[in-house]
Amino acid sequence: MSLWTTVRSRRIYTISAFGLVIIAVAALIGVIYTPHDPLALNVDSRLAAPSWSHWFGTDQFGRDILSRMLIGAGVSLRVSLMTVALALSMGLILGALAGYFGGILDYIISGVVDAFLALPGILLALALIAVFGVGEMGVVVALGIAYTPNVARVVRGSVLSLRPLGYIEAARLLGHPHLFIIIRHIIPNVVGPLTVLASTFFAQALLSESALSFLGLGVPPPHPSWGGILAEGRVFMEDAPWLSIFPGLAIAFSLLCINLCGDALRDYFDPRNSDQ
């Protein structure tokens, strides 16, 4: 069964996949075109309610919320994607080394990985941000490092279960170098669990990025991010509820689509646990 068939098998998966495409397109549109300048101050239209010229209203500086949210979509997706890419590559390397070579190397890597698993992800991220400072790259590095131990553990587990299999041994007897065996024979087999894990971390990274930006520890103002717009709008919640509603809806909608697509991936890669 192909991935496409799994996505098509349930209407809810199809809708969520379509939703993700919409978010990605919105982020792309934000890069090329925004209805208004997302950073331009306009004193004449402060805290304006949603209207034809400002679909989602304006904030306390008269900046157009829709424009800011389009840019924010790009920021959120970029940060989340880079975080997942960083965590996957570091976790893949560490997990493969530990699982493939075993011995003292495994002992050290697993020890450190287990210790870091005792630190909740967002906490580790906060600690790293405390040292390396705020900003888009700060969030990526902090969250990326925070999710790495989980990836490393999953990869190590998969590699350990693959090692004793005949074809790995055969490859070694043929004299293939370790790196070749890892890339050619090991990695393709961990793609399934990793993809499922990646979808989970993608959602978590998006949520954490908006939470950190909300706390003022993520993407710094005046640059728009969904969490940041929410935080700025908090003070004006009573007079301008649209500042608190639209960015929150965007975060929730994105997370819902990612989580549902994650369920679809789980059904596809792990049919034993699927609901069919």
Binding site: I12, G111, V112, D114, A115, F116, A118, L119, P120, G121, I122, L123, L126, A127, L128, I129, A130, V131, A203, L207, S210, A211, F214, L215, G216, L217, L230, R234, M237, E238, P241, S244, I245, G248, I251, A252, F253, L255, L256, I258, N259, L260, D263, N273, D275, Q276
Partner: protein, 313 residues
Amino acid sequence: MIYVLKRLLASIPTLLIVSIFVFVLLRLVPGDPAALMIGDTGSSADLDRVRAEMGLNEPLPVQYAIWLGKVVQGDLGTSFMTQEPVLSALLNRFAVTLQVVLIAFVIAAMIAIPAGVLAGRLQNSRIDMAIVFTATLFLSLPSFWVGMLLILVFGTQLGWLPTLGFVPITDSVSEWFAHIIIPVMSLVCVEMAILTRLVRASTIEVMRQDYVTYARAKGVSETRIVLQHILKNALSPTVTMLGLILGSLLSGTAVIETIFGLPGLGRFLVDAIYARDYPVIQGTLLFIVVIYTLVNLAVDLIYPLLDPRVRRS
């Protein structure tokens, strides 16, 4: 008893590695660690004293040993935001966080366990799909946004509840309740979602077991199968996850506490990061890791009581 000791010993390397990380973290900050430790307010005499205390003229491993020795004795330094000892400040903050988290957790479990078992038993039915979708929906709502909306509705629009601050239960029970109810509800939304999905998954797993089929074949009533066979066995894997959830919940309340002005642990850490209050940052990190390790240890110890199969091995 030996099992308990073994488990306790097993958590020591973890704590040591984390302590090295926390120690090194502070050394990675550009600048003089002693100047960082006393903040902007200290004099040059303070600086010399702290330099000597931290052993900054010694090699790095010696500095670590000095620091660890103090930490083990409960000396986490002094906060330069509040000038109080970090440990006692942490304990005060922790008490607030614990109240909110535990209440939210109990409420979430009371909703999630019946919902999860029901969904699992009626797998692929309309009811199951509705429950799973609701859980996924709630999972996708950022708790801070839910908190903001609840403030908007119950605080500012209806004016029923205060929107900010915390009142200790010893001062006034009704005021305490009014202040924590919205933060608790925001946490319940997310926790409920995670738990429901977990309970559902373990229920489905248990339902496939032969003993359930056997019990049904024997003519045991459905209610008894659910209560005695399914619920009991589905809950034990969930308990292991409870430890993880509770641990991350304890630290993940930072945003909630900031929105609602609750003087809890998470907000303490965030404030310390803003203020570059390094003794507090170090102390909070260590404290949460110790709590987290203890919670997971407790889970490991409770687990064999629930599942005799683990006890034997």
